[in-house]
Structures are given as structure tokens and as C-alpha cells.
């Protein structure tokens, strides 16, 4: 059976163009639904891309030791993912002994504990509350990060009160872009800025600290400032060869396990695992929000169904005429299915156009950088098409089953 699909499509487009306002109002729900789903998915995609970019820049084989334990419960359910996320920020259970243990593990080329001290920083511009990170001199190598200006402190230096700052600190704390040689006071000591980092690639929702907004001082300076009470935030290590990173990761875990009195209250993992965890959590959250946003698609679909039902009653006579000149039930069915699908796709198209606009605004005003790629467009297309077909089928069946005589007599 050949049916004039093309004519039906043209006719549907003609109907939409003839009653622009009505069509627009009909598909408003679809537009809102598609915009919300596309925006959420594209923002999540953008975040994932940023995180993987960040991790790729430091290297996937970087071994990270963090306090607290991730519940590695094989199953990938949403609740578990959320639990994992919350367990990341528990109170530090890492100590100086752990830092030494990692540093002394064989096969490690570089390592650094990172400890955190909170306090007030006084510069020539004013006083700021800030956390300062203490690291070893191997930190730039571990992070694969070069300095834009100056150089990183080294442990052999006689002056232990020196600091390296992230790019954002330069402007906000010192009021100039290259504050080399400037000084600030912290915990009663005067520090000299020796270097400024290149911009670290950052990502929202990332579980690492924002290094662009950090001040780095030598690890042992931090220890002495706080009488060794500064909590160890994480320990970074790099294997001398990327191939045995996994075995070294296991070795570190074994050593620390013994050191902690057979307690697994810490987590050892490679960056690649951290990426997997983050994107797993992100995927779960995205899915949840997208489903909630998708509810507005159902509302939009009901809107289409409603208008199509009204339009079928209005066009009862047309259905009668078409049947009298030989249209079969299925031909009428297909005509109205195509009409609701075209209407819904029209809404989807407007929604996608609007999503580009919304994403542009989000990208311009926040640190997020949403990505709309082909799969997302495909999802938008399939979603609106299926809404059109699902919610158009009831009216279309109704139209197809109309009795030709009653339909012809309808005025």
C-alpha cells in the first residue's frame, strides 16, 4: 500500500503555518520539555568533558590517596553513587606517617603530601581568609603543570617562607597580574611570592581542590607553622613507569592498611578511577534530573493530544470526504499520526534552537561550558518524534474509526 506520506507531511506543515499562534501554544510544552532535557544533558556533558580534560592534563596514572573510604559496592545504582559522593569529604584520617610511607614505596618517582592550613592572609591590598596548601617541591611534576612566572620552591632552599600562587590569586589578592617578589603575612610569618602557576584546567563538580585559587607553601613549613597539626588533605604519587602504576597502587594500599592498624579508612586510586567515579555520579544525577524534566514532555504530549482531538472533531467532515473518495482507515490513521508528529517535531526544533541560546547564556555567565553534540540532537529528535506518535495515536485511531456517513453529515 502506497500512501502519500510526502503530501501528508506538506499538508501538516501547511496547517502549522496557517495557524501559527495555535501551533506554537500547542507545542509550548514540548519546547519547554526539550529545552530542559537538552540543557541538562548538555551541561552534564560539558562538565564531564571538563573533568576528563583536567584529569588528562595531570595524567591518568597519577595515584591519589584520600582520607575516607569509598563504598565500592559493585552495583551502579543511583543511591550508591550519591553515597560515594558524600563519603569523599569525610574528616582526614591521613597523617605524616602515611606521607612518608607513600614516599618510601619502591617504584615511586615523585610524591607529595598535601596539607591544609586555614588562616588570615595579609597583603598590601588587605586581609583575606584563605586555606593554604602545603606541598613538596615535586608538586608541579606530579600535576604536570608548569609555572607561568618564577619557579617552584625547592626543599634545599634556606628560606622556608616562600610561596607559589595560582593565577586567580594574583589579581584578587595582590592587584597585579605578576606579583613576583611581593610578600604577605600568614600565621605571623612573611612569605615571598616566588612563582605563579599557569592556569590549571578546572572543572565544576570535580573532587579536587581549585588550584587556580590556591596558595602553595612548602610542606614542612606548613608542618612547623601548625606544630604538625595540619590535616593531610591528600597524598599524590607517580610511578616511575606508567605500566606498573596499578601494582604500585596496590602496594601503597597494602602498606597504609598495615599502618592504619588493619583499617581501610582511606582510599587509594588512580586518576582514571576517580574520573569513572565522578562521571558515574554525574550520569546518575543527570539521568534523574532529565527524567524529572522529561515530565514536562508528557505534559506537552497531552497538550498535543488535546489539540489533535479538537482538530479531529473540527475536521470530521474532512475525514468523511476522504473516506468517501476511497481513503482506507489506515490511510486516515497515518495522516493524523504524521500531523501530530510534525507538530511535535516542530516543537522539538524550536526547543533545540532555544537550547542553543540557553546554553550560550549559561556558558557566558557561569564556569560551565555546555556541549550540544549530535547524540543530544538525536535524543531531542527521537523524544519529540515519540511524543508525537505516542500522544497522536489515540486521536488518530479515533479519526480512522469514524463512520463515513456520520462524518459526512457533520457540520
Amino acid at each position: 500500500m502506497t500512501v502519500s506520506y510526502r503530501e501528508d507531511i506538506f499538508l501538516a506543515i501547511r496547517t502549522i503555518r496557517k495557524s501559527k499562534l495555535r501551533s506554537f501554544l500547542t507545542v509550548l510544552g514540548i519546547i519547554i520539555g526539550i529545552v530542559s532535557v537538552v540543557t541538562i544533558v548538555s551541561v552534564a556533558k560539558g562538565i564531564e568533558k571538563q573533568i576528563s580534560g583536567q584529569i588528562n592534563s595531570t595524567g591518568k596514572d597519577l595515584i591519589v590517596v584520600r582520607p575516607g573510604q569509598l563504598s565500592k559496592s559493585g552495583s551502579n545504582s543511583l543511591i550508591n553513587s550519591l553515597n560515594e559522593l558524600s563519603s569523599i569529604n569525610s574528616v582526614s584520617s591521613l597523617s605524616q606517617a602515611d606521607v612518608n610511607s607513600v614516599a618510601n614505596t619502591s617504584g615511586i618517582s615523585e610524591s607529595s603530601g598535601i596539607n591544609v592550613i586555614n588562616g588570615k592572609i595579609t597583603t598590601s591590598q588587605g586581609t583575606y581568609s584563605k586555606s593554604v596548601l602545603g606541598t613538596s617541591d615535586q608538586f608541579p611534576d606530579l600535576m604536570n603543570q608548569k609555572l607561568a612566572y618564577g619557579e617552584y620552591f625547592d626543599s634545599s632552599s634556606t628560606n622556608i617562607y616562600q610561596a607559589v600562587i595560582g593565577q586567580n590569586i594574583a589579581e584578587s589578592f595582590f592587584g597585579e597580574s605578576i606579583p613576583l617578589g611581593q610578600s604577605f603575612t600568614f600565621h605571623g610569618q612573611t612569605f615571598i611570592v616566588r612563582g605563579i602557576f599557569n592556569k590549571f584546567s578546572t572543572a565544576p563538580l570535580s573532587i579536587t581542590a581549585d588550584y587556580n585559587n590556591s596558595i602553595f607553601i612548602p610542606y614542612f613549613t606548613a608542618e612547623s607553622l601548625t606544630n604538625s597539626t595540619a590535616p593531610v588533605y591528600e597524598i599524590l604519587a607517580k610511578a616511575s613507569s606508567a605500566n606498573n602504576a596499578s601494582s604500585i597502587e596496590k602496594q601503597i594500599n597494602k602498606n597504609l592498611y598495615k599502618l592504619h592498624g588493619d583499617q581501610q579508612d582511606f582510599t587509594v586510586m588512580q586518576q582514571s578511577q576517580s574520573l569513572a567515579i565522578t562521571s558515574g555520579v554525574l550520569d546518575s544525577i543527570t539521568m534523574l534530573i532529565a527524567i524529572i524534566a522529561g515530565i514536562s514532555l508528557v505534559v506537552g504530549g497531552v497538550g498535543i493530544m488535546n489539540v489533535t482531538l479538537v482538530s479531529i472533531t473540527e475536521r470530521t467532515k474532512e475525514i468523511g470526504i476522504r473516506k468517501s473518495i476511497g481513503a482506507t482507515n489506515s490511510q486516515i490513521l497515518i495522516q493524523f499520526l504524521i500531523e501530530s508528529s510534525v507538530l511535535s517535531l516542530f516543537g522539538g526544533l524550536l526547543g533545540v534552537i532555544l537550547s542553543f541560546l540557553v546554553d550560550y547564556i549559561i556558558g557566558a555567565t557561569t564556569s560551565l561550558s555546555p556541549v550540544i553534540d549530535l547524540p543530544i540532537l538525536g535524543i531531542a529528535f527521537l523524544l519529540s518524534l515519540s511524543v508525537g506518535i505516542i500522544f497522536g495515536s489515540l486521536p488518530a485511531f479515533k479519526a480512522a474509526r469514524k463512520d463515513p456517513i456520520l462524518a459526512l453529515r457533520y457540520e
Binding site: S4, E318, I321, K323, S324, I325, G326, I405, L408
Partner: protein, 291 residues
């Protein structure tokens, strides 16, 4: 050769006290190439009869043979296809689709048949030319006069070259001039070999019919053969009595009466002449008519 054969066909609407008998044991045999006028007061079941014959409706009782085949038990879709290929409908209220152009309206039955787009347009254009509406093909129905709209509706009914044309009061909404034009078209269709069933209230119309069927209260009360060109006797008198069949000579006289009554500017005639245009033959026809 009978093309339509109704055997004790009844159609009953409603249940219980609200029962309406629209057709009561109608038996009717219609031969190929008859021009039948169906007359009768409102509510006499004329339209129901047309709907049953046109496969839009199923009889409650009785047998219906269309083209020598029983169509009582066939499915809805098959009925739609038979309707599409064998029967052309012309309505009193024209029933063109307002959102389609004249050309699209005429081509629509071909689309349901699955004819390709180019061929559809070509056939529809030819058909519009035949009814003298080819210069209006990109118009919408609301831009045409009612007479013109009915011409288009006839073109649509003819597009699938149906064997049977069913017209339910096609001139009911038209003025005398347009009515005449439309009836000339039907007469022309009849001449090409189609069977025409035409419901009418107007006795004048029976001039074109070869047979007139009178209905009352759902039953056929009189079935009379009528000379083409003459008003059927009963229709003019509204007294129901049987009239003897006319002779061949009477029929011929009737035909020539129609020929003379065709207006010179009639688009159908023009189209006809154009189509047959072997020079000489045209003149021959004309001289014959003048005699």
C-alpha cells in the same frame, strides 16, 4: 449486464421505540450505462439507498451484488478500495477539502490509490480540462463559484474512471444556469459509458435520465423508463402511474433535443471537440446536429 443488484435490502436505524426504517426491502437492478434519476420526498430513503450502493453504509438485511459480486461481507478496508476504484461521489454540498487547491482536490483519490506524484498531477490536469476548469487549478475552493466548485467535484469523482457515479442532489445548491452546466457534464459522463445514479427533487432533471425511480417511506414505489430529453411523465404530474416504454424513435428525438439545448459556449463541448479534434469530423458532427 446488471452492475448493481439489490435484493430485499433493508436499513434500520436505532433500537426499540426509536427504530427508523430508512430502507424497506428495496429490490433494484441497475444495468451498466443506465442514467437513473431517483426522486422522492425528503426522508424517503434516497440518500440511504445511495450510501448503501456507494458502500458507505451496510444494509441491515438483504443482499447487494456489485459488479456480480456480493459485497455484504467484505471488510471495511476492502470496501474503501472498491469505493475508490469503482464509485465516484458527487454531493449536494460539493465536499471539496477547503485547505487543498483545486488540483490537489482532484488528485486526492489518485494519492489514496498510490499513483506517483507526476502522473497524478497530469491526470488531474487532464480531468480539469475535461470539465473546463483547467484555468482554475491553483485556486482554492472558496475562490470559486458554486457551479465551478461542483465541476471540480465532478472531476474528482471521475479521476479514477469509476464505473458508477453517485450524485446526491448535485444541483440542489446551484442556480439554473449552473445546474444546466452540471447536468450537461453528467450527460457527457453517461455517454462515455458510465452508470449514473442521481438523486433529485427537480422534475426538469429527469430530462437527462433514462430511467426514473420513485421512492417513498424507504420503498421503491415506481420504476419508470424515461426518454432522454423528456421530463419523466410521473415526475411532471406527480401522479404515480405506469407509463408504456418509449420506442427507439422517441429516444433518438430526446437525444437530439439535448444536443440542441447545449449552449454554444459550454466548456464541456469545447473540451470534447478539442479532444476529438480530427478536423472534418467536427464539422460532420455539427451538421448532423443542425439537422
Amino acid at each position: 449486464m446488471s452492475i448493481i443488484e439489490l435484493n430485499d435490502v433493508s436499513k434500520i436505524y436505532g433500537f426499540g421505540d426509536a427504530t427508523t426504517v430508512a430502507l424497506e426491502e428495496v429490490s433494484l437492478t441497475i444495468d451498466e450505462n443506465e442514467f437513473i434519476a431517483v426522486m422522492g420526498p425528503s426522508g424517503s430513503g434516497k440518500s440511504t439507498l445511495m450510501n448503501v450502493i456507494g458502500l458507505l453504509d451496510r444494509p441491515t438485511y438483504g443482499k447487494y451484488m456489485l459488479n456480480k459480486r456480493s459485497v455484504d461481507k467484505i471488510r471495511t478496508n476492502r470496501r474503501a478500495k472498491i469505493r475508490r476504484d469503482m464509485i465516484g461521489f458527487v454531493f449536494q454540498s460539493f465536499n471539496l477539502l477547503p485547505r487543498l487547491t483545486v488540483l490537489e482536490n482532484v488528485a486526492l483519490p489518485l494519492a489514496y490509490k498510490g499513483v506517483g506524484l507526476k502522473r497524478r498531477i497530469k491526470l488531474a490536469e487532464n480531468m480539469l480540462e475535461r470539465v473546463g476548469m483547467d484555468d482554475k487549478k491553483y485556486f482554492y475552493p472558496n475562490q470559486l463559484s458554486s457551479g465551478q466548485i461542483q465541476c471540480v467535484a465532478i472531476a474528482r469523482a471521475l479521476i479514477n474512471t469509476p464505473k458508477i457515479i453517485i450524485a446526491d442532489e448535485p444541483t440542489g445548491n446551484l442556480d439554473t444556469t449552473s445546474s444546466r452546466l452540471i447536468m450537461e457534464l453528467f450527460s457527457d459522463i453517461h455517454k462515455t459509458g458510465s452508470t449514473v445514479l442521481l438523486v433529485t427533487h427537480n422534475p426538469e432533471i429527469t430530462r437527462y435520465a433514462s430511467r426514473v425511480v420513485y421512492m417513498r417511506d424507504g420503498a421503491v414505489v415506481l420504476d419508470e423508463n424515461s426518454a432522454i430529453g423528456d421530463i419523466a411523465e410521473t415526475a411532471s404530474q406527480t401522479i404515480y402511474k405506469k407509463r408504456p416504454r418509449k420506442t427507439i424513435d422517441d429516444d433518438l428525438a430526446g437525444v437530439s433535443a439535448i444536443m440542441d439545448s447545449i449552449p454554444q459556449k459550454s466548456p464541456i463541448k469545447k473540451a470534447l471537440v478539442k479532444k476529438k479534434s480530427k478536423p472534418g469530423r467536427k464539422r460532420k458532427n455539427n451538421t448532423k446536429r443542425k439537422k
